[in-house]
């Protein structure tokens, strides 16, 4: 996954930092805070699977590209970093 870091981003692609901002907004709407630590557990900050859906749809809105994915990939997501990695990676598919 880290090897993608050196790849040139496509024009309409969101950076990891931009996705982090969107994630903070999703949480803020529920009066929750996004910790700065990527290792923070989603369970502890109250970021649930439908919140992930909301975030993915917000990324779609920004980029104009549909992001479709299977459920099994989601089950491995446990931390804030996992969410960001998943969405960065998904934009490359």
């Amino acid at each position: 996954m880290h090897s993608l870091g050196c790849r040139l981003r496509r024009m309409n692609e969101l950076s990891r930092a931009q996705i982090r901002d969107l994630m903070a907004q999703v949480l803020k709407n529920q009066d929750k805070e996004l910790p700065a630590d990527d290792a923070a557990q989603l369970r502890e900050i109250g970021f649930r699977s439908l919140d992930f859906s909301e975030l993915a749809l917000r990324v779609e809105d920004e980029t104009g590209e549909e992001l479709n994915f299977d459920a099994p990939g989601l089950r491995r997501i446990a931390t804030v970093g996992d969410v960001l990695d998943f969405l960065v990676e998904l934009q490359h598919q």
Binding site: S53, A56, E66, L67, N68, D70, A71, P72, R75
Partner: protein, 251 residues
């Protein structure tokens, strides 16, 4: 047009066509019917070594082929081959289906169309084809649609899949009426299997289902097979029903 009831009995099926017969429940159905002395035709997108072996062991009673259930022309060709090799088809098991493992909002629209085509349109077409052959020959026969508990209960990640299975349950009832007793049409709705498509549910959800199941275990193909055989072979008055095989998990 309202006809008087047809009181002649529907005999046990002797030549049964099974779609998606190459692995999992489909393969178990094929094997079981062969053991019961039935002639069996099975097709699947990919013919597995297991299915090839069955065909090699009993060439006089098995016909297999590589057919995609959504390819109606190929299915028609296969049905003709079967009739020549094994005799007229008087039983059909609509088993071929593809699974789903994605939330509805994140499922590509093409994938939704593909699930509906494979799991709903294709079995309706195959049923039409086989029923036309049976009616045209004056045969009485039996149809078993393999559906799923998620036609009746909700599960995340299976929205389009559930819709197709519910569609087949509904078609089962209307077909039983429409065929006026000339054919017995039923559905068998298994609960989740530990293997195969249940990969979609993930270990946590499967554990939850097991905990809620009075019999304490997920359904196995071997537990579904006798019900399919009964509907194809036994003299019962069961018609237009959906029989759930899930250890009462959904009750």
């Amino acid at each position: 047009m309202s006809d008087p009831a047809d009181t002649q009995l529907v005999p046990p099926s002797s030549v049964v066509l099974v779609s998606g017969g190459s692995r999992g429940l489909g393969l178990a159905i094929v094997t079981d019917l062969l053991d019961a002395g039935v002639r069996v035709a099975a097709f699947a997108r990919t013919v597995t070594p297991e299915l090839t072996k069955l065909a090699a062991e009993r060439p006089d009673r098995v016909h297999v082929g590589s057919v995609d259930v959504t390819d109606l022309r190929a299915a028609q060709g296969f049905v003709r081959e079967v009739e020549q090799r094994l005799g007229p088809i008087d039983g059909l098991v609509n088993n071929a289906a593809i699974g789903q493992d994605s939330l509805h909002v994140h499922t590509a629209t093409d994938d939704i169309a593909r699930i509906i085509e494979t799991n709903l349109t294709a079995p309706l077409q195959l049923t039409r084809l086989v029923v036309r052959r049976m009616l045209g020959k004056g045969l009485r026969g039996r149809i078993v649609n393999i559906t799923s508990i998620c036609a009746q209960r909700g599960f995340p990640g299976l929205v389009a899949y559930s819709a197709t299975k519910g569609g087949m349950d509904a078609a089962t009832r209307s077909l039983a009426r429409e065929l006026g007793g000339r054919m017995l049409v039923n559905a068998v709705a298994p609960g989740f299997f530990a293997s195969e498509m249940s990969a979609v549910l993930g270990p946590t959800q499967l554990d939850q289902i097991v905990r809620r199941t009075p019999t304490g275990h997920l359904t196995e193909p071997v537990e579904v097979v006798p019900v399919v055989r009964m509907l194809l072979r036994e003299h019962t008055n069961i018609n237009g029903q959906v029989i759930v095989v899930d250890g009462a998990a959904s009750i």
